[in-house]
Amino acid sequence: MENFDILVSILGSTVRLSIPLLFTALAGLFSERAGIFDIGLEGKMLAAAFASAVAAYATGSAWLGLLAGIAVSILFSLVHGFASITNRGNQIVSGVALNFVAIGLTVVLGQAWFGQGGRTPQVSGEGRFSPIILPGADAMRDVPIIGPLYANVISGNNILTYMAFMAVPLAWWVLFRTRFGLRLRAVGENPGAVDTAGISVAWMRYRAVIVAGFLCGFSGTYLAIAQSAAFINNMSAGKGYIALAALIFAKWRPVPVMFACLLFGFLDAVANFMQGKSVPLIGEVPVQIFQALPYILTCVLLAGFIGVARAPKAGGVPYVKER
């Protein structure tokens, strides 16, 4: 039974750790499906985390925090769009630049405003997204197997967690069942054809990066005022890149994105759990292996050893209308 408890606790933290990845990877999905590479996911997440923590602290409302996070993240998206769509700049360079701006600016502003070395003050109560206990969680707790799973993995998460899982079918529906989604995927594959049909490629791509900014707003907010209670320096700590890896691992498809994020979240949870513990027969497994595993897996996938990851055809290429 003890092993089962461990499993339940690992699964619980898997869910908690994969939520920021999930929002961010879905953000990348919209952007990259429209042909705009987004290395700047990390920066957007970080900027949103800072904005939401500041707004939640100032107003005492988690929802206003979320709103601020989304607004700032979309602002970053628009700069990325201005550079890579309007000015046809290099999308990778623009993303790298925005990551630096975010990582530096959050600390500079945080230090100037609060003087705590870049941290923001703790928020509590209404300023955070607190865990929701689903109906019947306590009553079910004693039911074998299903009970603990329901009480600890499915129940007891905050509202953003449930929104993340709802965002997956929604993203699928938008991308594959609406006219907007069809056009969005089309500008990522063959912008010339979309242009011929009389649809503005630039405006279509702008809308895609705005959606990406919107979703990164959620992931940043989750980090700052749902998972923690304040903004901490560089708290995204490479999650944006792991999300990017998950997106590639899922071959740019919404439902596999969810499973890839859960897998990478699971690896993270196992790494936390394994710290200082030894496995029978093997001995102590270095934590670093689990930390590196998402990246190694993605490289193996990119090498074409597990299926082929084919990126949207027009990804990374600025669209130049013929004159």
């Binding site: 590479f37 290395i39 700069v79 201005f82 550079a83 890579s84 000015n87 046809r88 700049g89 290099n90 999308q91 990778i92 360079v93 623009s94 790298v96 630049a97 925005l98 990551n99 630096f100 701006v101 975010a102 990582i103 530096g104 600016l105 600390v107 500079v108 502003l109 230090q111 100037a112 405003w113 003087g115 070395g117 870049g118 490479g238 890149y241 990017l244 890896a245 590639i248 270095p286 670093q288 292996i289 930390q291 590196a292 990246y295 190694i296 993605t298 490289c299 990119l302 090498a303 074409g304 990851a309 990126a311 004159r323």
Partner: protein, 367 residues
């Protein structure tokens, strides 16, 4: 007629426009300083004083410059072949392993100038090795080099932490680092060079690797503009389809260009590991690999431009450290903001001002 196809004289394309972009980046940095309630001009004064005001300040500035020349060259070589190597950071980190191994193996037995060639070679080989897999994946399997080099930065960081914590750590010590190299494994400081200008180096870690960096600048210039390989590389960078049609061996050029790029990144470790710290430490690269991106973009991937841009970032890094001491509301992270803005304006938005400049130029050309 659009402005994109109007030819501009070189001094505008390579002088004026980059300068305007740089000024824009500084203008926005100034806005940030002003926003947090400090005077941008006052901050600039502290920045200049802190980086160029005293002998040891100049020593620190040139120490940072050395690192950035290596990483800037690394990014630039890949850039000429049309490859965006974001992995200089990880390649420099792993290169540190090579530099440290050479020093640890030899420092008991020989003086520094015997160790140096081994350290240079080992650092370059380890850095190049870390670039090899992404290069091979790009050349043979078509996976995107940007993504794989990012992944390899993280894998490299995990590997190095593992090695430092479990293999190289000095028994009984807490800090995950190797033992301190003896003098035979270190690179000596350049106090004599400073003394020529009547300056005292003080505690600044400005060392021989600066001279190695300058030699590398010359070699990179030779490679890119004076060899057949460099020509093929540039052709590939400008138009892959034309290069392949002309018979340039794509896979070979990509792999060799990335190996050189990784090797140059790895040599950055000479400065930080053998020159400054005299030991291999966790996170010793400290973002120099990423600064290389900014340096290469600003320097237009030309060695002379790279030296100037590296000097600028050296001033920013050293001056920024001093600035945060003088003005506690401005943290050192302000440099990261400036770095981001420079990459944004000099890199991603490099063509933003061009149409306006072309229009003004045409006015003048007519009148």
């Amino acid at each position: 007629m659009t402005t994109a196809s109007v030819p501009l004289p070189n001094w505008i394309s390579y002088g004026l426009i980059p300068l305007l972009n740089l000024l824009l980046a500084f203008f926005f940095s100034g806005l940030v300083v002003w926003w947090i309630g400090e005077s941008p001009l006052e901050a600039l004064k502290f920045l200049i004083q802190g980086s160029l005001g005293r002998g040891d300040a100049i020593g620190f500035t040139l120490f940072y410059t050395t690192s950035f020349i290596f990483t800037g060259l690394s990014v630039a070589v890949a850039f000429h072949a049309g490859l965006f190597n974001i992995g200089s950071e990880g390649q420099a980190y792993v290169g540190g392993l090579g530099a440290a191994l050479a020093a640890l193996a030899l420092d008991h037995y020989v003086p520094w100038y015997v160790t140096m060639p081994f350290a240079i070679t080992a650092a370059a080989i380890f850095g190049a090795a870390w670039a090899f897999i992404p290069a091979w994946l790009q050349a043979k399997r078509g996976s995107h080099i940007v993504i794989t080099t990012i992944m390899f930065n993280f894998i490299g960081a995990a590997l190095m932490v593992y090695l430092l914590v479990n293999v190289f750590i000095v028994p009984g010590k807490m800090a995950p680092e190797t033992r301190t190299f003896l003098e035979g494994g270190q690179l000596p400081k350049l106090d004599w060079l400073m003394a020529l200008f009547g300056l005292k180096l003080g505690p600044a870690p400005f060392n021989v690797s600066f001279l190695i960096a300058l030699v590398m600048c010359y070699l990179v210039w030779l490679l890119i503009w004076r060899t057949k390989f460099g020509y093929e590389m540039r052709t590939l960078g400008i138009s892959p389809s034309a290069a392949i049609y002309a018979g340039v061996p794509y896979a070979r050029i990509v792999i060799i260009a990335m190996l050189i790029s990784g090797g140059l990144a790895g040599m950055m470790a000479l400065n930080a590991v053998n020159g400054a710290a005299a030991r291999l430490q966790v996170e010793f690269v400290a973002g120099a690999g990423f600064v290389g991106i900014a340096v290469s973009l600003m320097g237009r991937s030309h060695p002379v431009g790279i030296i100037l841009a590296a000097l600028l970032f050296g001033i920013l890094y050293q001056g920024g450290a001093d600035l945060s001491f003088e003005m506690p509301t401005i943290t050192r992270d302000m440099i990261v903001v400036i770095q981001g803005l420079v990459i944004l304006f000099a890199g991603a938005l490099e063509y933003m001002l061009r149409p306006a400049v072309v229009r003004i130029y045409q006015q003048f050309a007519k009148g």
